[in-house]
Symmetry: D2
């Protein structure tokens, strides 16, 4: 029986991530050149599926996009068909509804035989109602945080690590020249992969991650010890989700009690303040922010993104249903998309890089 | 009469800046190789002069430092011999004193015939009492802000512009993919040179600088117009010292009324909040911070820093007194250090780059 | 009298150079936004003028090209209307003719009131017949070699210096680890600006430029001296046009006497071979080649290119005729295009960077 | 029984490779901080072992070297104790001898309990006589070519890929602007890993590797087809060891028949020449050369190098003998050093990246 796949839709959901365009390019080129499929781009993630903003993607559209950050399809990190904002009620409260049927109509209207969903764990979750409705969804894991379950590596992560490492490298010169503590707050709300990798790569003196609660006293002792041993500076790579042993998590936020909505500093600022107060050593913070999730993907990420895009189409054409492509144990493979949707992969306590970092005397604050 | 210069001291004061080491290297190598001088490094800026932390600098010390960020001599951006903290009085209040005489003793003890002061306008000011006391001070202008009077260009500035431009380039991909306004807060408390250059270099849609007060309504209109013309995103390069037409300047600061000392957002955050509230377009902020003032200097800055270091020794050996080296009208030259100490060079309203930016439709908020 | 300029043509001629697209963007945006002109892009340099490949350029065409290397218009570095290949004669010899009249017809057919010529000294020369025929030509100097007469700086040069410096920085690690001499051959057939700037920026031990003939014995002595003083390696930045004191210039070339046309090494290879033979110290060569003239322009070059593009249109609209925009003595200005066409700006012997390099003990082989 | 390891020697052999210093740092810090070992650095690879140039390595020696290219220990890519040059005989011919016993004496003199050998397949081979003599040798695979048997990944490789990708990215702009074929010759004498990865990462149109002999006719057809389909340029990533289907391998070499020893072009030049002759499309070559094997390691390589250094000491202290550390199937592990010495890992024909590249229409010349 010939494979019935003739027309596919592609969408990119969730936050920006280096390498999305490389995936779109590989999906489109493989589909067109190798299998003569018709490819449709869905604009702005699931929002375009809701609003029927769906248009053909040709090989010309994806020419030259391999090296560009962002997504030519646009994305939206709040749109979820199962819980879609549909206006306010009489009292001015927002109303939400399940608009999955409308999306299914749009999928049918374009005769899409499958959906390629490029997104993180949340986006895979958004795809579930479509899977249940019989739409073949092939997921491609996208997150700079590297915390999608079912894969050891997601594209975008290594670029984020490179960006964070470059920032930490730079802060070394200021820290040394001023004999300061420099805290760099990095992305990672629940998983500390970026801080762990970039912390090791930059030779940071301390690495603070959500998975290992820190004790501020231990950090201060560590910093003072370094000062006493003639290393009058310290670099701290700190995930935004790092939390102290008393369970408190300080996240940058808007203070609603103030006349003007002003964002308050997060855990990086908190730690720098604590260190300066307790040790009398100057401490400063840098919040790397959006810089980490944007820009040109590094070579590795382009290779991984291209391989992921290729593998997605291969599995589809091999007749597989509802798979998420994966890099597991160094091998390009795929897993059941239902088994990973909404799950996160945190740093396990037996991760060899934790032992590696400790061996070169990195402080985790524990 | 032979030039009486035999021994010189070098100090680096003020904030970190890419290229300081390149200057130290050029000063030391020129002094030793060309003029057979003895060179002494003074640690941690004027603080080392106060505390007599002065040690010989050989060509070996400066080997391999050309490309490294920071300063091998260390720096201190608060130490001022004319107003030096000397402990607390009975009531616990800090006491300050003029310790210039102690510094002069240290200069004499090392028989230094001249002082090379690598610093910004503040550091040139700190050098004035020594000039008045008869010490030949040769200044080398250092600031990433490019706002030292008496020179069109300071080393470190072009590296800061490169770093800021790289960040703005990256934010483009996120802005486009999410149809957002991305505000990037850059250094520049009084002078907007970094924002102006990096804003043009990155093709930012708006550039906000201290020299041109902005009207938030005009910015919002500009952003909405772009959205209406199918360019659903905007990039705003914003100097930290940008101020609105009502004269209000919002600077990131610690709020003393809060139980924990937390840094509040600055003008970048303020503008993003205003835009989102008034236009309903998503707006986000990145504060580039210390990343701008650190790291490896770019090629131009290494050339400029080397030329400055060379020229400083040349003028000294030509018998000149109290000069600051300068790049004016594209020419390596020098000016009277007294004429520039404590003065700042802001962007003049007839700067051709302002007209250039306006011609390609950049919004200055005015 | 109102300025009669309504329609302009833009062409890019000669070799690739970082920043061309930034110029095209600034020219187009300034012309359209500020002066409501109609802009036409001429494809592949003068070849498109000959073949009437001329099409409208809108602001949409130039959107997003600021950071991209190359030229969206295409270029051609051999086409010259005054001496145009028009086929072979009966004996198979190439025939050339002056096709300026045909070009003028094409200019008239599109009612172009002026021509913006983005090119080097050769391209300015190609524009002369049009100037003489009454076409208002505004030149924008483009060359990575920085050797166009009439301007101190051309866009593209600083990016080439950055690329060369990065390569020389890298070679340091290999040279040190292997105790070798590493020769890096850089562009610069007649002018050694790239080698001089990148040599200083990278702290190269020797810099060889066409303007200062080298004596191989002096280079060997220099290299051996370094080895004797425990610096067991040397880095040599060598312009491709470097020549020895006996006047011999060794340029990479195809040897017609060999069965297969194989390119023979140039002066970099020659010098490395000579050093290894005479000193017994391992020497290796890297020819940087096309890498130098391509890729994303650095921030400075984007600013300069944008200012040049803006200034070209400003002068045109101010009623000026036949000017080349220029950066002279640090000032954006313009010169008579006829006064610079076909002329080259070599490094003068009183260039301060030569003295700077010598002061830090750089060998020029003289 | 307590582990008898108290003193270890470390040597780096073979060609320069980004990340060697990161390995030396991790080995030294782990050995000293975690196990209180004494660490000795052996200079210039096996040559230092022969000449007894062995000195203590402290944590201070390895401070700040994480990000630096090269090796602080020096290296030598020709020294082999089993076949050591010991002078010329009476006829002037070089004499070689097995100086393993002398090396063993030096090892014993320093009471080294184990040897950490950082090197490629050749260096692992050089270590074999010491293994056979009872010296515990722990290998750490180093090669930019990624062709050491027994590991999927070697440190340095990903940096080489990044450098090659950057070069290929740059050449795109020149190729497009000039409608040319640009051939970039990359390292890889026997294995084409660098060309494969950087070719995919840069979206190169053709990738030529030693493992897949190319047919020049197919390449020319491919290039002409692209030209015919309005893509008037092609980028070819070509491993230096690429060979044609007739088995001929063209390697850059010195021609001894010429009066001056001049290096002749390699396969990249050959292919460009052939393409230009056969298709009349302009073709140019860039030979990336030593740039690929030097400079600051990228973040991934620093992490891998640190993990390798840590794991080497862990295995040693766990009582293991003669292991080479390895990254296999994404897992940090180790293999018998005897099983891998002198073996190379070529690209297997079922490598998924080959299929990936073909799916996006990459030409392999077959």
């Amino acid at each position: 029986m010939p494979n019935p796949i003739k027309r596919i839709g592609v969408l990119t959901a969730g936050g920006d991530c280096p390498g999305i365009n490389a995936v779109i390019r590989a999906v489109t080129k493989t589909a067109i050149y190798k299998y003569d499929l018709r490819v449709f781009g869905i604009e702005d993630g699931f929002q375009g599926l809701i609003e029927n903003r769906i248009a053909p993607l040709s090989s010309l559209h994806v020419s030259g996009i391999l090296t560009r950050g962002g997504t030519i399809l646009g994305t939206n990190n709040r749109s979820n068909p199962a819980h879609c904002f549909v206006g306010n009620d009489e009292d001015g409260k927002p109303k939400f509804a399940d608009v999955t049927p409308r999306c299914l109509d749009n999928i049918n209207a374009h005769k899409l035989d499958a959906l390629i969903v490029i997104g993180g764990d949340g986006s895979m979750g958004c795809a579930m109602p479509f899977v249940e409705a019989g739409v073949n969804c092939i997921g491609i894991p996208k997150t700079i945080d590297n915390d999608v379950a079912g894969t050891d590596l997601t594209f975008g992560f290594l670029t984020a690590v490179a960006t964070a490492t470059d920032a930490l490298d730079r802060l070394h010169s200021t820290a040394m020249s001023h004999h300061r503590v420099m805290v760099c707050e990095l992305m990672g709300r629940n998983a500390g992969w970026i801080a762990l990798h970039s912390g090791i790569a930059s030779g940071s003196d301390a690495i603070l991650i959500p998975e290992i609660p820190y004790d501020i006293d231990r950090i201060c002792t560590f910093v003072k010890n370094r000062m006493a041993h003639n290393r009058g500076f310290s670099i701290i790579a700190c995930a935004e989700g790092a939390r102290s042993t008393d369970g408190k998590q300080i996240v940058a936020h808007v203070d609603p009690t103030r006349p003007e909505p002003i964002r308050l500093g997060g855990v990086g600022q908190h730690i720098a303040t604590q260190i300066q107060q307790r040790t009398n050593i100057e401490a400063r913070t840098t919040v790397l922010g959006y810089i980490q999730r944007s820009g040109t993907p590094i070579a590795n990420d382009r290779v991984l993104a291209t391989a992921f895009g290729y593998h997605a189409i291969e599995q589809l054409m091999a007749g597989k249903q509802n798979r998420m492509v994966s890099m597991t144990n160094g091998t390009l493979c795929d897993v059941d998309i239902k088994s990973v949707a909404g799950k996160q992969r945190l740093i396990p306590m037996d991760e060899p890089l934790l032992a590696t970092a400790r061996a070169v005397k990195t402080c985790f604050g524990d």
